[in-house]
Symmetry: C2
């Protein structure tokens, strides 16, 4: 299974309004609620690709209860006890919960029935934060409001560390995702990278700012910054230069997201740039999380770097195209996959 860590999970609300006007009153025309936080988004895409995933991190309060209910509804094994450690191994052999009956054994990456997502979140006293995306229905433009998240106590952090090390034992890879909630020290990701490396579990780090800077020093296998995060980290806006710099700081592989231009990967065995066949209109929310899911699943399946990048770029482009923020359009993904261009880059400094 693949483990994703979301220390600051969120109940993601999407509000449709005709147009957001500051200092006016708005009737919200439609409300959508879903479990959020980067690691949960990554898990949802991994599940859609047929990879069994375990999610951990923190959840609490009434919003945490709603988040966990919605998370359970995502999984085809929702009715089965969510004891992470009792469900090792792949989902490939599991029967679908509601039988379409005509699907063959699922192929990872192209399975049409989602694999289980197991809830291994640690319950905390504080309340899981809400995030609100206010979408102008005329233009699709989005205004984002993010609550800070619950204050995590030292005891809650210790309980999480114990759960995390237990889960690592059964993980093929782990992704550490998103912002830190109040109360968690800024070097937390470094503290999570070390036991993963000691256990030989490949570890991805997808965060920004000081948590990224401190995390890199613990030598994660992969980071996936966007251009702004990379510039903030290295001081350079030249992708190749900044990517090389980020590797010198400790990341084994850096996959820089270049937005609509695709991705640049600098790895220990070479460098590649992958580009979508065309620029596409849509909402980029969640495109980065889909890319992480593509890279993680490609690693676990033993794909070559060009194939991992092809998948990551096709998934993130199919996410931009999807009418629902953060979901990916499966038909678009399958159509895009063979059309993503990958070329080798020289990395000589």
């Amino acid at each position: 299974m693949i483990l994703t860590v979301t220390l600051n999970t969120a109940l993601d609300l999407t509000y449709g309004v005709p147009e957001l006007v500051p200092h006016a009153s708005h009737r919200v025309s439609d409300v959508a609620e879903r479990p959020g936080g980067k690691g949960l988004n990554v898990a949802r895409v991994l599940s859609a690709l047929g990879h069994e995933t375990v999610v951990t991190g923190f959840a609490g309060g009434a919003t945490g209860t709603v988040l966990r209910t919605l998370l359970a509804e995502l999984s085809p094994r929702a009715a089965i006890s969510a004891d992470a450690t009792s469900a090792p191994g792949g989902a490939s052999g599991a029967a679908p919960a509601s039988g379409a009956g005509d699907t063959p054994a699922p192929t990872p990456g192209f399975d049409s029935s989602p694999a289980p997502i197991t809830d291994a979140l640690v319950t905390v006293a504080g309340s899981t934060r809400r995030t609100i995306a206010v979408v102008d229905r005329a233009t699709g433009d989005t205004t984002q409001l993010n609550e800070p998240g619950p204050l995590i106590s030292a005891d809650e952090w210790s309980a999480f560390l114990a759960r995390y090390e237990e889960l690592l034992a059964g993980a093929d890879a782990v992704a550490l995702c998103g912002s830190l909630p109040p109360g968690i020290h800024v070097g937390a990701y470094a503290e999570l990278i070390r036991p993963a490396r000691a256990a030989d579990v490949p570890v991805f780090l997808d965060t920004s700012g000081e948590p990224l800077r401190r995390g890199i020093a613990a030598r994660p296998d992969l980071i996936k910054p966007n251009a702004d995060e990379l510039a903030q980290l290295t001081g350079s806006r030249d992708p190749l230069r900044a990517t090389r710099d980020a590797r010198r700081r400790g990341a084994h592989t850096v996959v820089a997201s270049l937005g609509p231009d695709g991705m640049l990967a600098v790895t220990p065995v070479g460098a590649w740039q992958a580009s979508p066949p065309a620029r596409v209109p849509g909402n980029p929310t969640g495109a980065g999380d889909s890319a992480v899911a593509g890279l993680l699943s490609g690693l676990v399946e033993g794909l070559s770097w060009p194939d991992r990048l092809r998948r990551a770029v096709a998934l993130s482009t199919a996410t931009v195209l999807s009418p629902t923020a953060g979901d990916f359009d499966r038909a678009a993904y399958e159509e895009l996959l063979p059309r993503v261009g990958v070329e080798e880059r020289t990395t000589a400094a």
Copy 2:
């Protein structure tokens, strides 16, 4: 006791941001949650004035559970079973839940320990809505986002009607407050006014648009529209003319809110205008609900019309002055009360 009806209760969230910028991402610096909807706001002020209050309407889902928990925390009798019909009579004789010990028997209107608020909400399958007030911390300007509310079924409406008629039997007055949730017919307030009048319980109606227009025809004792609501109802922006027109449509008394200029009351026994001593800066959210609480408590206490208006204007001005939206500043209220000017108006058409 005083009964308030809130068919579309809300979990009111206040988000502080440096400045709301459309299509940008915002970290919310502070989050406040409280039970909302106009009738609940009125009940909170009545409780602060020492009047025992029962709240009914609908609540459901996770947001409804949070709302009811917060509502219970407001009341000094939170630990006692919320069976409305078993708690008739005033709160004046009740001992404070946590003993300051040095307070004399409370005087309604000036009691410093709040009277109980009893939760007689009807549980529904849908989820209580959220409202979000996004406050620019630099200027205090507020952007409001209101969810529509749960769909109420015919069975839930019937269950509410039965609860309402039962509660009316013990009520000294009833206030029908706010918007209608989806599923409730637009003539609902008329349906609630008739049994109140049949039971000789004075009934206030504080709503707007078509629910107000339909409600007035059932002859409520009092409506409290603001200038916009009055203009929408009557087509006139002249307060005296519009107020007279609203009375002809069925309201026995019309108290028109004139914003910072105070209130104009046209009653069966005369007309008065009450004005605060000065214009005050602040947030007008909840000022109208405080005015309703002032008028209701003044009615139940048998105050003269000038004294009821004095209280309503002092309370709403003290609400504008309060740093927390919807709360009133007690010291300001007591200081303002004797300084509110009231003059008689002629109503001859």
